[in-house]
């Protein structure tokens, strides 16, 4: 793509999220969300093949619907209340409508069906941006809305964890697996949102680190299906060593950093006496863990049939360098080693 246009689009992407984060008025928040949506569309349709164009079209229609619903509910609330402050919304119907619009933007069940299709249709780097950066702005808006109907968040959160687990089980395409993993993680975040916004922010932060590390790893291995992962040991032996740990961190196993958000979310839910919620969430996390284990098995724990010349790729193509390579060590370190630092990490957010 033309480098000037690329700079304009990436800057607008950052500008959109910054506008939404810094806004107290619903109109400015909507403006930021729309700018973010528009800026990513040419990045998605960059390759100009029908699948990418289809993914860009679906993304645009879904996000535009959500933004229109958001604007409608925000202005109705402003008409009834007299002001458009984000933090002082009071009408229950329009609060729920805005919440549903933001959850559609985030891709939570039952409004999740666009996520796997969109992330599958775009390249790995663009999928990374859609999975991580585009979640920040709607999440911050959700944080600021008070008095959301509690059963709404709980039911959608639990449904997302379950659907994220079950949906990813039958997939062989890695981008779809990561889309379902995103749905499941955002379900966990939504579950704790009404009780502790600090834990929700921490969970989102750890999720962003883990997902970034996974996408960058897949980009380095040039792998988009599980079959392509089996030759990772020939391309980058170090990644073969570390990738299972990264995937198990996504699955939420101690002593990796992915365990910390799940641990604290379960603890908070238990202390507030929401035992069924905590049980269902913990059991549904096993569904996600099974497909992360399947990926680890393909990468490290098994040796697929191969021919001799392909076994020596790491000698010829070393080091594999993609534009995001320099971010991988940082993302991996944050994915694996953050659990002992959790107390100080939480003090930054609380």
């Amino acid at each position: 793509m033309n480098p000037y246009l690329l700079i304009v689009l990436l800057t607008s992407l950052g500008l959109g999220t910054a506008l939404t984060l810094s806004s107290t008025h619903w109109l400015l928040a909507w403006l930021g969300l729309e700018v973010g949506t528009l800026a990513i569309l040419p990045l998605m349709a960059q390759r100009h093949h029908p699948r990418a164009t289809e993914a860009a079209t679906k993304y645009f229609i879904v996000q535009a619907t959500a933004a229109a619903t958001l604007l409608f509910a925000a202005f109705n609330n402003a008409w009834l209340q007299g002001h458009s402050d984000i933090q002082h919304m009071s009408h229950p119907l329009f609060t729920s409508m805005i919440t549903l619009a933001l959850l559609l933007k985030l891709g939570l069940a039952p409004m999740h069906t666009w996520m796997p299709q969109v992330i599958q249709g775009v390249s790995l780097n663009t999928g990374l941006i859609v999975s991580t950066w585009q979640k920040i702005a709607p999440f911050i808006l959700l944080l600021q809305i008070k008095q959301i109907h509690p059963p709404l968040l709980t039911i959608i959160g639990l449904a997302s964890i379950l659907i994220g687990g079950w949906g990813g089980l039958n997939q062989t395409q890695l981008r779809k697996i990561l889309a379902y993993s995103s749905i499941a993680h955002l379900g966990w975040i939504l579950l704790i949102l009404q009780h502790s916004t600090a834990l929700a922010t921490y969970a989102l932060l750890i999720y962003i680190f883990m997902t970034s590390a996974t996408f960058i790893t897949l980009k380095k291995c040039k792998a988009t299906t599980i079959n392509m992962l089996t030759t990772t040991w020939t391309k980058a032996p170090t990644i073969t060593l570390v990738a299972p740990l990264m995937l198990l961190s996504l699955g939420g196993l101690p002593p990796l950093s992915g365990f910390a958000p799940k641990w604290f979310i379960l603890q908070e839910l238990t202390q507030l006496n929401f035992i069924p919620h905590a049980s269902i969430a913990a059991m549904a996390a096993l569904l996600s863990l099974s497909y992360y284990l399947r990926l680890s098995y393909s990468i490290t724990l098994s040796l697929s049939p191969n021919n001799l010349p392909e076994c020596l790729q790491w000698r010829v193509n070393y080091p594999i360098s993609t534009p995001l390579s320099s971010a991988l060590p940082a993302a991996l370190a944050l994915t694996l080693f953050l659990l002992p630092l959790t107390p100080s990490a939480l003090t930054l957010i609380i």
Partner: protein
Amino acid sequence: MSYLVCVLLFRLMVGSVGVASNPSPYFAAMGLVMESGVGCGVLICFGGSFLPLVFFLIYLGGMMVVFAFSAALSAEPYPYGWGNRSVKMYVAAYVLGVGCAWKVLLGKWSGFWGGILDESGELLVLRGGMMGVAAMHDVGGWMLVLGGLGLLLTLFVVLELVRGVSRGGLRTV
């Protein structure tokens, strides 16, 4: 006066159904033109002077121009009108929906508020629309700049998405 508003709103519904029933864009454009005209009329009946003209301008000068370009690029030899079977089914469904809504809501919204197009309900020296435009340029100056930036970004995005002769979405552009 309320009869005029009722007639105009009825035409608004007819226009909406005509557009939403998915005919070829040539015919849907006619529905939009009618909608914009009667929408302008409704706003005038409620007392506005500037806002109806803005409504007309944005509908016809903005939306319709883009619509016309899209229709010109997607020309087809046998366009579907409203007599086509699939379009007629949509028309029937939407008319049924409007009828149900009318039945449900009839009697719940009553009274015609023939006041000035304003929310304050009192006598003002300046009209609400004019004051709003002045405030938008005065207090909301930076918001206008951001809106303009957003529109410029939209231009770049659209140009990037549709260019490409052989590799873009449209083959001859």
